[in-house]
């Protein structure tokens, strides 16, 4: 479906030094939880349009080893908004679950999946659901295209930690 650029923290710094194209960067924290039975959460990250449909999928992390796609519908928001239409795995979009910590994602404004975005109001949604745990979605609204450098943040209360969105023109 859509290709995207996902960049490791180290590479992000390397890129920042170069001739910079407009980009959208996201930092997503998966919090450490004091629970007896811990499983890494399934996480879906997408851009939602004003109609609440998925305008662009940014990342979907689930247990890729074995057939564990059966739990994808537990990402309820993502599933109903369009996750259910997606045939996984998708190269460059889907990947393995991530450990506790900060995860950085960077997307070039001139490249897929962002090229398809028409000017307007959007929301970045990060949704996480954890086996024997809970579900939580964090939303950060933004305007497209990027006109000025902007940094917005929000925080989950349980399943997600800090989420930060950086828009760089």
């Amino acid at each position: 479906m859509i290709r995207l650029t996902r960049i490791a923290p180290g590479m992000l710094l390397a890129f920042a030094g170069g001739a910079s194209a407009a980009d959208l960067s996201l930092s997503v924290e998966i919090p450490q939880l004091p629970v007896a039975e811990y499983h890494r959460p399934y996480v879906a990250i997408w851009i939602e349009g004003a109609d609440q449909a998925i305008a662009a999928n940014l990342a979907v992390w689930y247990q890729v080893r074995g057939d564990h796609t059966k739990w994808l519908p537990d990402l309820r928001q993502w599933w109903r908004r369009g996750g259910r239409d997606l045939k996984v795995p998708v190269d460059g979009l889907t990947g393995a679950t991530r450990p506790v910590g900060q995860h950085l994602l960077k997307f070039d404004a001139a490249k897929a999946p962002l090229t398809g975005l028409k000017p307007g109001q959007y929301t970045v949604v990060v949704e996480a659901v954890r086996e024997v745990g809970g579900r939580e979605a964090v939303r950060i609204p933004f305007e497209w295209p990027i006109k000025a450098a902007k940094r917005e943040s929000a925080s989950g209360s349980k399943e997600l930690g800090a989420v930060a969105l950086s828009l760089n023109p």
Binding site: K70, W71, R80
Partner: protein, 272 residues
């Protein structure tokens, strides 16, 4: 499966007589799927079928599922597996290999008769074709009624697909909002058909599951409009039971005038 309707109906009739509480109404009929939404990889669901007023506790009697028809997304029948008939519920498994929506329905077309024999009340319930043998020709104070009962639920693998009613008899659901795409605090429209045409001015009752844990049934009632539609705003996530019925004189069985058509559906409403 259809061949067993007769014996099954006899058994059901016996069951109803044994179980009949103070009222003559039968217990609520429902199908309860183990889950309603599956990933694209498909999988198995188990469906319980029971007749019980408590939603969804199987504490009265099993529902006969001889008249079960499961239609896959392509409209073809899907065979139930591991069928079991217990005292309090029937159950069966479905392997869902295809993406799309499955309609799981127990649709019965029966005749019910009451009469008097030597001053004693008699009753019979059976298939229309068995009427001649089931009801004595000279039965006194004979009252006959056709019953068209449809008990239904839906399960979807991946993206929901159209669920078009096909029978054109009795009450059927023609969803406006897909029955596997319902969410708390959102409004869903449902359209009902009676004999294939909009079922207007009928009362629809919707009750959330977990009645055992509430002091009041907290039923919601609606009237179908001129298009046969109701609009439901779901108060919370959960499994809901819906029923709508009509009594008229449009029986389709020769020699029978009265008809009672009913529809009972089980729908899962998800969190936002």
């Amino acid at each position: 499966m259809k061949n067993s309707i007769v014996s099954h109906s006899a058994k059901l009739a016996a069951l109803l007589i044994v179980m009949a509480p103070a009222t003559s109404e039968a217990a609520r009929a429902w199908l309860l799927p183990s889950q309603t939404i599956l990933a694209r990889s498909g999988g198995w669901v188990t469906v319980d079928a029971a007749m019980a007023d408590d939603l969804f506790s199987f504490n009265q009697g099993a529902m006969q599922v001889d008249a079960l028809v499961v239609s896959g997304p392509d409209g073809r029948p899907v065979a139930p597996q591991n069928p079991a008939k217990g005292r309090t519920r029937s159950s069966f498994d479905l392997e869902l290999r295809q993406a799309g929506t499955y309609r799981i329905a127990v649709a019965e077309n029966m005749v019910m008769a009451r009469w008097e024999e030597d001053g004693k009340p008699k009753r019979w319930r059976g298939a229309p074709a068995e009427m001649a043998t089931g009801i004595p020709a000279n039965a006194a104070k004979l009252e006959v009624e056709q019953t068209q009962r449809r008990v239904e639920t839906f399960v979807t693998v991946g993206t929901p697909t159209d669920v078009n009613p096909g029978a054109g008899t009795g009450i059927e659901l023609k969803p406006v909002q897909h029955p596997n795409d319902l969410y708390a605090r959102e409004t869903a429209k449902f359209r009902f058909l009676l004999d294939g045409k909009p079922a207007t001015d009928l009362e629809v009752e919707i009750i959330a599951g977990g009645t055992r844990y509430r002091d009041a049934p907290e039923e919601m009632t609606f009237k179908t409009n001129k298009d046969g539609e109701i609009a439901v705003t779901w108060p919370a996530a959960g499994m809901y039971w819906l029923e709508v019925s009509v009594q008229d004189e449009k029986a389709t069985v020769p020699g029978v005038k009265k008809r009672r058509a009913s529809y009972a559906g089980t729908f899962e409403v998800l969190t936002q």
